[in-house]
C-alpha cells in the first residue's frame, strides 16, 4: 500500500507541473464566470439557467476529459521513455502496484478538479436568479422546471399485440399478392409495426384518448405548490392552416367520472391552442394524483376546433421526486465515472503503446463515446450481414466502448430537471468501471507485468 501511495503522490506532483493542467484550470476559472454573465438562452430566467448549466457542465466535462486523456497517456509512457521507471520498478514494488498508484493519482486529481469546478458552477447557478432581473412567474417556472429533480413516465403499449397485428396484416398482404418484391420481410414487418403503433397513438377528430398511470409517487404529495407536468408534441396527418392544435385535456383520477363514485381528488381541465411539432408542457397540482398513486390523463380531439387526426408524440408525465442539489451531485458523479474510465483506458493503453499512439486511440474512443449511439447503429447495420463472425469479433469490442451520449449524458437531465436515479447511476458505474474498466485494467496489468521495460525503450 505504501508503494502505491508513494507512486500516487509522485504522479500527482508530476501532473500538477504539466502545462495542460494549468491551461485547463485557467480556462475553467476564466470561462465559467464569463459564461454565467453572457449566456442568456431565450432571455428568460429558465433559459439562462438551462443554457449556462448545459454549457458549463459540458465544458467542465470536456476539458477534464481531455486533461485526463493527456495525463493518463503521458505519465507511464513518459516514465518508460525517460527511463525513470528503471529506478522505480527495481525497488520492492509490483508492476500492478505502479499502475494502480498512477491510477489513484489521476482519479484523485479528477475528484479534486471536478469538485472545485462543479462547486463553482453550482454556486453560479444558485446566484443567477438573484443576479438576473426576473419576474416572479419566471422564478416560479425556474423553480418548477429547473431547480428540481423530476421523473418522467411514459404510456406503455402492448407491443406483443401490435406485432401480432402487424404479422396478420402481412399475411393479408401476402395473400393478396401485394408484398413489394424489393423489400425484405424484416423491413415490411417493421413498417407495418410502425403503422400499428401510429394507430394506437392517434386521436381522430371527435375521439378521446385516455392514459392511466399507476404508482405515481411524488416527493411531497401534501404540498399545495407541488406540481406535475404533462409534456407532449402534436403531430398531425393534415397540417392546419394556422399550424395550431386546440387541445382539451383532463388530468386527475378519471375513475371518478364513472357514475356512482364519490369525488375525492380534483380533476383539472386544460384547454389550449398550441403550435404543432413543438414540445410543450403544462403544469398541474399534484393533488390530481389519487391516494393510491393513480393518475389519469385524457385528450379530446374536438372536431369543432380541429379537422385532423392528432398524434401526441413524446407524451410524458413528469413529477418531482427530489431536489436539484442531490440531482446535480449525481450528474457530477456521472462525469466522474466518465473520467475514471478514461484514466483506466489511458494508463492501460500505455502499458504497451507509446504516448502518441495511446493518446490517439484514447481520443478516438472518447469521441466514439460521445457519439456512441450513432456509430454503434451504423456499424451494427453494416455488421449484421457478417453474421456470426461479426457477433464474435467486432460486437464484443464495440461493447467495450464507453457510452457518454444519450441517457449517459448528465447535461440533459440537469437542464430538464430530470432525476438521475441512483440505480441508473450505480448500473452505469458498474458496467463502465467494474466491468469494462476492470477488464481493460487487468489486461494492461498483465501486459505490463510481462513487459521488458528496458527492451522497449532501447
Amino acid at each position: 500500500m505504501h508503494s502505491i501511495w508513494a507512486v500516487a503522490r509522485n504522479t500527482l506532483a508530476q501532473t500538477l507541473r504539466m502545462k495542460i493542467a494549468a491551461v485547463v484550470v485557467l480556462l475553467l476559472l476564466i470561462l465559467l464566470p464569463l459564461m454565467s454573465m453572457v449566456m442568456g438562452g431565450d432571455d428568460t430566467l429558465l433559459g439562462k439557467l438551462q443554457t449556462f448549466t448545459s454549457y458549463g457542465l459540458g465544458l467542465i466535462s470536456f476539458l477534464l476529459c481531455i486533461l485526463t486523456i493527456a495525463i493518463s497517456t503521458f505519465t507511464l509512457s513518459n516514465d518508460i521513455k525517460r527511463k525513470h521507471i528503471f529506478l522505480v520498478i527495481t525497488k520492492p514494488i509490483r508492476h500492478w502496484q505502479l499502475i494502480l498508484g498512477k491510477l489513484v493519482a489521476i482519479v484523485l486529481l479528477n475528484v479534486i478538479l471536478l469538485g472545485i469546478f462543479s462547486g463553482i458552477l453550482y454556486a453560479f447557478v444558485l446566484l443567477i436568479p438573484r443576479m438576473v432581473d426576473a419576474t416572479e412567474g419566471e422564478k416560479l417556472r425556474a423553480k418548477a422546471e429547473f431547480f428540481t429533480s423530476r421523473v418522467g413516465i411514459k404510456p406503455s403499449f402492448d407491443t406483443e399485440l401490435l406485432s401480432k397485428r402487424a404479422k396478420s396484416h402481412y399475411d393479408e398482404l401476402e395473400k393478396a399478392g401485394q408484398i413489394p418484391e424489393q423489400m425484405s420481410y424484416a423491413r415490411i414487418i417493421g413498417e407495418l409495426f410502425g403503422q400499428e403503433m401510429l394507430k394506437a397513438k392517434k386521436v381522430d377528430p371527435g375521439e378521446v384518448k385516455q392514459w392511466e398511470f399507476e404508482n405515481v409517487r411524488v416527493k411531497d404529495p401534501g404540498d399545495p405548490n407541488a406540481l406535475l407536468f404533462v409534456r407532449y408534441q402534436y403531430k398531425v396527418t393534415v397540417t392546419p392552416p394556422d399550424e395550431k392544435i386546440y387541445g382539451m385535456w383532463k388530468v386527475g383520477d378519471l375513475r371518478q367520472l364513472k357514475g356512482g363514485v364519490k369525488v375525492k381528488t380534483p380533476i383539472y381541465d386544460v384547454d389550449r391552442a398550441e403550435a404543432i411539432r413543438v414540445t410543450r408542457e403544462f403544469a398541474i397540482p399534484v393533488a390530481a394524483i389519487a391516494d393510491d398513486g393513480t393518475l389519469g390523463i385524457a385528450f379530446y380531439n374536438n372536431p369543432a376546433l380541429n379537422r385532423t387526426t392528432i398524434i401526441p408524440e413524446e407524451f410524458e408525465v413528469l413529477y418531482q421526486t427530489g431536489g436539484f442539489t442531490e440531482n446535480f451531485v449525481r450528474a457530477v458523479l456521472m462525469i466522474l465515472v466518465r473520467l475514471i474510465f478514461l484514466s483506466v483506458l489511458g494508463i492501460s493503453l500505455t502499458t504497451w503503446l507509446s504516448f502518441p499512439v495511446a493518446i490517439l486511440v484514447c481520443v478516438s474512443v472518447f469521441f466514439v463515446g460521445l457519439t456512441n449511439g450513432f456509430i454503434l447503429d451504423a456499424i451494427d447495420s453494416l455488421g449484421a450481414t457478417a453474421g456470426i463472425i461479426y457477433s464474435l469479433t467486432v460486437k464484443p469490442l464495440l461493447w467495450l466502448l464507453p457510452q457518454f451520449d444519450g441517457d449517459y449524458n448528465p447535461n440533459g437531465y440537469i437542464v430538464d430537471g430530470r432525476t438521475i436515479r441512483w440505480t441508473f447511476l450505480a448500473t452505469t458505474a458498474i458496467v463502465t468501471l467494474f466491468v469494462k474498466g476492470l477488464l481493460m485494467l487487468f489486461a494492461g496489468m498483465l501486459i505490463f507485468s510481462r513487459r521488458e521495460v528496458a527492451k522497449t525503450v532501447s
Binding site: 508513494a6 503522490r9 506532483a13 528503471f86 529506478l87 520492492p92 514494488i93 521495460v453 528496458a454
Partner: protein, 419 residues
C-alpha cells in the same frame, strides 16, 4: 528461494535480442556464469556493447533472460523481498527532474516503506554524506552530472541495501567526488555490503575492487582478483628517500650482479592527489562555491547490520549509535579523505579526536615496511587499506619526506612516471 552462497549468481545467463520477425539479431550476453561473493567489490569490465548493462538489467528484472537464470541475494530476480535489499545506481540519472533532492529521497524511501522518522533521518544523513545538504531543496533538473551522480548514489543507499549494483558510478564526477565515492565503496564493503561495480574508468576499478571480470561479446573473457591479474611476479620496484650518486652506483652494481636492470627516476605526484590537496585547502579557507560540497563520512544507518570485523572499534561505536537511525553524519565520519583533513583543523570534539586517532593509527600502520610486505603477499585482504593510506598521505603530507622506504611490486597499469 534458491539456496546460493553468492550474492549474485547467474547460470548460463543468455540474452538475445530478436528482430521484428523474431529472428535472433544480437547476442548481448551468452552463457554467462557469474558468481559474486558476499562482502566483496566485484568490478564488471568490458568495452561498449560487451553486455555489462544488459546483464545488470537482467539481474534487476528490467530485461528477461532468453535462456538461463539469475539469482540475487539467494532469491529470484524481481522478487520484491530481494529488491528491498538491493540498491541500484544506473549509468545515467533517471531521477524525476521536477523533484528536489529531498523529495527524491523521500519518494524512494516511501517505496521501500520506511517510516517517516527513519526516512527523515536517512535523508538528512545521506544528503550530508554525498555533499548535497545545501541543495536539498533544489530540483534535480538543475543539477550538474556529478551532482546527479551523488544524489543517485544517495537514492541507492536509502534502503541500507545489502547489495549495491553500480553502473558507472563515478562518471561525470570531479576527482574529489570520485575519491570520496571510492572510499565510500570500500567502507560499505568493510561494513558487510556487496558491490557490483560496472565502470569504464579502469583506475577506479583497480583501486577498489576485490575481483574483476572482463566481458567481451557477451562472454566472460577473464576473471580473478586484481593482484592475480595485474601483478608482475618477476619484477620489483623500490622506493627510497633521496640517495647519493655513490649509493646509486652501489645499488646498480648489486642489481647487475643479480642479472637485473635498474632504472632510477624521481617520482611524480599523481595529478588526482595534487588536485585533491588544492581543493581541500580551498575548503579549509571556506571559499564560496555553488557546486556540491564535500561529503561527510558514511551515513550511520548503513552500518546497522554490519558487524563484519568485530575487532574494529570504530564499527562498534557507529553501530551502537545507529540503532537510533538519527545520528548526524559528522559523528560517524571515519576514514574519508575530507573528514580526516577537516577534522584535524577544525574539530575539537572528543568523538572526532577519537576517530582521528583511530584513523591515523591505522594509516600509520599501513605504511610500515612489514605491513606493506603483507599487502603484496595477501592482495585481496589488504587492498582496501592501501586506498585509505593514499588518501591520508595525500592530505596529511608526503610520507616519503620522512625517509621511510617501501617496496611494492609494480602493476601493469601503473603510471611509468611513478616507477
Amino acid at each position: 528461494m534458491a539456496a546460493t552462497h553468492y550474492a549474485i549468481e547467474t547460470v548460463s545467463l543468455t540474452k538475445i535480442f530478436p528482430d521484428w520477425w523474431g529472428r535472433a539479431k544480437v547476442v548481448a550476453v551468452e552463457n554467462l556464469n557469474l558468481n559474486i561473493r558476499y562482502n566483496e567489490i566485484y568490478g564488471f569490465l568490458g568495452p561498449n556493447g560487451s553486455g555489462k548493462t544488459t546483464t545488470i538489467k537482467m539481474l534487476l528484472n528490467l530485461l528477461h533472460p532468453t535462456k538461463g537464470a539469475g539469482f540475487v541475494l539467494g532469491g529470484t530476480v524481481g522478487d520484491p523481498k530481494v529488491s528491498a535489499r538491493v540498491g541500484y545506481l544506473p549509468e545515467e540519472s533517471y531521477l524525476y527532474r521536477y523533484l528536489t533532492a529531498r523529495e527524491t529521497l523521500d519518494f524512494y524511501g516511501r517505496i521501500f516503506g520506511l517510516s517517516s522518522g527513519v526516512r527523515k533521518a536517512r535523508i538528512e544523513t545521506l544528503l550530508e554524506m554525498v555533499g548535497l545538504s545545501g541543495m536539498r531543496n533544489r530540483q534535480i533538473g538543475t543539477f550538474s552530472k556529478g551532482m546527479a551522480r551523488r544524489i543517485g548514489l544517495a537514492q541507492a543507499l536509502i534502503n541500507d541495501p545489502d547489495l549495491l549494483i553500480l553502473d558507472e558510478p563515478t562518471s561525470g564526477m570531479d576527482p574529489m567526488g570520485t575519491r570520496q565515492m571510492k572510499d565510500l565503496f570500500v567502507e560499505l564493503v568493510r561494513r558487510g555490503k556487496t558491490i557490483l561495480l560496472c565502470s569504464h574508468l579502469l583506475a577506479d576499478v583497480e583501486d577498489v575492487c576485490d575481483r574483476i571480470g572482463i566481458l567481451y561479446g557477451g562472454r566472460m573473457q577473464l576473471e580473478g582478483t586484481v593482484c592475480e591479474l595485474l601483478q608482475h611476479k618477476d619484477e620489483m620496484q623500490m622506493r627510497t628517500g633521496k640517495l647519493s650518486d655513490k649509493a646509486l652506483e652501489q645499488i646498480e652494481q648489486i642489481v647487475s650482479k643479480e642479472g637485473g636492470q635498474l632504472s632510477v627516476e624521481n617520482p611524480m605526484e599523481k595529478l588526482e592527489s595534487f588536485f585533491i590537496k588544492i581543493v581541500a585547502k580551498a575548503r579549509q579557507e571556506k571559499q564560496q562555491t555553488s557546486g556540491a560540497e564535500a561529503g561527510t563520512g558514511i551515513s550511520g544507518f548503513l552500518a546497522e547490520k554490519a558487524v563484519v570485523r568485530p575487532e574494529n572499534i570504530l564499527d562498534d561505536l557507529v553501530s551502537v549509535k545507529m540503532q537510533e537511525a538519527v545520528v548526524p553524519a559528522q559523528t560517524v565520519a571515519t576514514e574519508t579523505t575530507e573528514s580526516v583533513a577537516v577534522s584535524e583543523v577544525k574539530s575539537k570534539e572528543a568523538d572526532h579526536n577519537l576517530l582521528d586517532q583511530l584513523t591515523r593509527q591505522e594509516s600509520d600502520r599501513s605504511i610500515t615496511p612489514s605491513e606493506t610486505e603483507k599487502i603484496t603477499t595477501q592482495p585481496s585482504e589488504s587492498k582496501k587499506p592501501v586506498v585509505k593510506k593514499d588518501i591520508l598521505e595525500d592530505l596529511l603530507g608526503d610520507k616519503r619526506q620522512t625517509g621511510s622506504t617501501e617496496i611494492t611490486r609494480p602493476d601493469q597499469t601503473e603510471d611509468p612516471s611513478n616507477a
